[in-house]
């Protein structure tokens, strides 16, 4: 029977370990920059503190995202009020209701214009 150390296992196993807090914070930073002014620092001191905080997160980010992706929009928004980790995770899985396209009747010939208000772009179809 081959002997395997934990280290070997970690190397062999293809499964990603918990996301680091730095990553979590970075995504928080991207998602809501105005709220993350005080978490964007990367000094070693702060990093150590973050590592400690990691163990306090009961649910790592990747799992949290999977949980939050099963909530509807209203529930998702409510979850974002829990803490900054949840805000970042809930925004990353949020699917806002997209507004419907507007259709314009042909001005000339058979060309019909569709307008997507969310990206302010017009599409023309035959």
């Amino acid at each position: 029977m081959p002997k395997v150390t934990c280290k070997d296992l970690l190397r062999l196993s293809c499964c990603p370990l918990r996301v680091t807090v730095t990553q979590a914070e970075r995504s928080g930073f991207n998602a809501e920059s105005q709220l993350s002014n005080n978490v964007s620092g990367t000094s070693t001191e702060e990093h150590e503190e973050s590592d400690e905080q990691l163990t306090l997160f009961r649910v790592p980010n990747e799992i949290l995202e999977q949980i939050l992706s099963r909530l509807n929009l209203k529930e998702n928004i409510r979850a974002s009020a829990v803490c900054k980790q949840w805000l970042a995770a809930s925004i990353s899985v949020r699917v806002a209701n997209k507004p419907p396209w507007l259709m314009f009747f042909p001005k000339v010939g058979d060309l019909v214009e569709f307008y997507d208000p969310s990206v302010r772009q017009a599409l023309v179809e035959l």
Binding site: P2, K3, V4, L9, S13, A81, C83
Partner: protein, 163 residues
Amino acid sequence: MASTTETKQKKMLILKSADNDEFEIEESVGVQSETIKNLVEDGFTFVPLPNVYTKALIKIIDYLKKHANKTDSNDEEIKTFDKDFVNTTFDDLFELVSAANYLHISCLMNMLCQTIADRIKDKSPEAVRKIFHINCDYTPEEEAKIRKANAQAFEGQFDESLD
């Protein structure tokens, strides 16, 4: 899914939990976990699981055994088993979801995430913080801002219970 009715000798695996307890299971049961499957394919029969504690591992082995014997006839039985399986405390669910994630058991992961989502969806942010043992890191202004921006989502009565 591998059948357990194979006549040839069953290959066994030993799983070792984070608190050093060892469990012997059939390979066909274990390979429902992608993590274990990958190790088995690499020739390992001894699988240390440094991220999975005994308590969670016992439940997960139960789950794997049950689901390895899935046939058309015991569908109802498995449904009842699953229902019982997730009928536990939040702390247990968190343990299990971390373990299932580490072990890459997608059907279990789905079930656990759905259960947690269903159980928190009507709760207030305050109740969720208590359940997840989260210290709110918002300043009162930041929290007010989020609530104000989406006031609609915060209207009405919420479930404040912690179970």
